[in-house]
Subunit: 235 residues, 2 copies
């Protein structure tokens, strides 16, 4: 029997209407959809985004990826996820793994895909891009993310604040993903460099409870959701 | 009469199926769609992407933005574009301006939107994000663009090759937009730094004539389309 295809589909930042037509078509066509399971009985982000697009016949595979930094624990979870998906592929069924945002931009899918390649080298893996949160945040704010000859830098969730100093010397536009845990330190750097006027934060971009903060001068402390993006445009 | 809304819609990198549901819904709902006119009687990129989604009743406004660097000439073209759109808004009709890729990521829409704000301060402008070419290129290559704690940098079309040296000292992943004109110099830098193995080029990502080059060691010269992205991942 021919192996099924494993699709990695980015379903966008939150608004279910920000999935692509291709993503939706494949999602509705495949018999099996996998996604990161939510925590403490709440559905995960990707699961929430696609819930309105699924019918009751779809086989759903919530995969448990613990929210830890320990590589060994994570690696075991990804391997277990790949092992859960493989039997469906071996029965010729296509499987879609969905994640919020874009599938190639700080997504967990790559780890899962690597485990799948190790488990069964012949599996055909196809990626479908999605709208990532920096683009969604810029659109929500009504401000260009970057334009003309500006250089853009993106720093991921885990970074040292010194990195921000370095990158502000180089880039014209800087995006800080998942800024909540380091916001007070970031605020100090932007304050010192007189960049608070040129920065804004978007929390949970395109979700119904989205919040936009663009008057950061008076906000040295902000209690932000984990899914918050800060954008600073030096020009 | 209430003013119409001006939507800026990113329609994705090329494959018409990579538009979002929201982008398509608005595009089909508005009576007027504007886009950058093509050159030498060929339709423009955004126009090609949306052509299958338009019916014959839609009013189409191809706006002429000359392919020049001269800011005064461009500024006049954007003002003229805004002037062409305004009467429809004043008659209460919504207008969609579409561009390829994402609306906030190196898009011309921002210039047009600024001209519109100067022309008529009360116009409501809404942005709808789209899939940008780096994400599309990574998905086409089946490779993550960036992951984990990697720092990402994007250099736009016009950059000095020395910039590439600087950014390679800082970023883990570097995206060079519209690399065609500087490809031979870029190749030399990557060769010297032994990074050719870790780089790939995607030409016209997701178009039917998409090409992927990932064996750059033997390709010191490449005749590339203007719409080519180079991605180098140092890790």
């Amino acid at each position: 029997m021919q192996l099924g295809i494993l699709y990695g589909i980015g379903v966008g930042p939150g608004d279910p209407e920000l999935i692509t037509l291709k993503g939706l078509r494949l999602l509705q066509r495949v018999p099996v959809v996998a996604y990161p399971a939510g925590v403490s009985s709440k559905p995960g982000m990707a699961e929430q985004i696609i819930s309105q697009w699924l019918d009751y016949e779809k086989i759903q595979l919530p995969l448990k990826f613990p929210y830890v930094q320990d590589r060994a624990v994570l690696s075991q979870a990804w391997q277990e996820g790949a092992r859960q998906i493989l039997p469906y592929l071996q029965h010729g069924q296509d499987v879609a793994f969905v994640c919020e945002g874009d599938i190639s931009f700080y997504s967990t899918f790559n780890y899962l895909a690597n485990c799948m390649r190790q488990l069964h080298g012949a599996v055909n893996i196809q990626l479908v891009p999605g709208i990532s949160s920096p683009m969604a945040a810029a659109a929500a704010a009504g401000i260009p993310l970057t334009m003309g000859d500006r250089r853009l830098a993106v720093l991921p969730a885990l970074y040292a604040v010194e990195e921000l100093e370095n990158v502000l010397n180089w880039a014209d536009v800087v995006v800080l993903m998942k800024v909540s845990s380091v916001y007070p330190q970031v605020w100090q750097v932007l304050h010192r460099r007189k960049l608070l006027e040129k920065a804004y934060v978007v929390e949970r971009a395109t979700w119904p409870d989205q919040r936009l903060y663009n008057d950061l001068g008076s906000r040295s402390q902000l209690k932000l959701s984990y899914f918050s993006v800060l954008i600073v445009n030096r020009n």
